[in-house]
Point group: C2
Chain length 171, copies 2
Amino acid sequence: MKTAPTSADHGEPRWLTDEEQRVWRAYIDATTLLEDHLDRQLQRDAGMPHVYYGLLVMLAEAPDRRLRMTELAMSAKITRSRLSHAVARLEKSGWVRREDCPSDKRGQFAVLTDEGRDVLRRHAPGHVDAVRQAVFDRLTPEQQKSLGEIMRIVAEGLQPSEAGADLPWLR
Amino acid sequence: MKTAPTSADHGEPRWLTDEEQRVWRAYIDATTLLEDHLDRQLQRDAGMPHVYYGLLVMLAEAPDRRLRMTELAMSAKITRSRLSHAVARLEKSGWVRREDCPSDKRGQFAVLTDEGRDVLRRHAPGHVDAVRQAVFDRLTPEQQKSLGEIMRIVAEGLQPSEAGADLPWLR
DNA sequence: TGGTGGAAGTTGAGATTTCAAGTAACAGCC
DNA sequence: GGCTGTTACTTGAAATCTCAACTTCCACCA
């Protein structure tokens, strides 16, 4: 009798079917091309990569235009270390400044400066345009909806919070 | 009378609707988390990032396990410069070697070595497993199909070949 | 209190990526 | 043959990212 396969299984792996391979390849191609495209657009126009732009947006949307480093890192789905370096760079550019957290001496706020707000204002239109041209303008409303659902499912499965769901000591 | 908006338009930009923003955010989150997840998995198990693994796969599938640098770069959707550095590293690891092209003295082949083939054999199961767990196992067949269609559309719109389609001098 | 484990954030070194510039070779043309 | 523009690929430096420490501080508990 066959036992149920697990991730540590050493039996014949469940290879992707031809159709699955085509889907996966399309995914890789699209995400690679798109991230590259947006990185170039923003680097050229706004002088920063896409991730950094995303950080500024999150700060702009946050109450008081500030967020704790850890919160910001979690929102952006990047490590605290990466964020630390990124904020250092954004600080050097004058778009973000750090502030101490009054209630927790270990804590730091990343705060969007006025210059940071301005750079966003100036370049948001161009960025939205790039995203529209590359994605939304090419998809039907149904496809947009579908894309949202699918991406939400994938993201949820990988969130650190849910990551414990497949931890060995929980089996 | 209003003129049709173009990308160089300075009128009110077509901001994303709330729903579009949610879709876009889900896309960013999912792709960031997934790429990060696969990078870690492969770095830990196979000692290379996801892109490099992809390069080895393409070589493995190519006739004679070899591809011209430019072909490989185009398949992988990366710049030749990036590929040059990547192949240098893969060469150092012993998984790829370069060979001169007999018909064009400028040309170089990237060739998968036996060691490269072995490293793929050893780690392909773990990688497929990771991809399945993160993506295919979570999606219905309809969603998988939909994902493929959507990603193909986005990728096509960004291919260098089609990129000319929205070049200013073609308007 | 005084420890102790964990949380918040930073740091530095090494790896990877980008960008601009460079070399070498091909291809067409006079 | 000798130009000229293009193609193929590489290179080096600067920017970014990863990974593994490391520091400081909080929270809890005996």
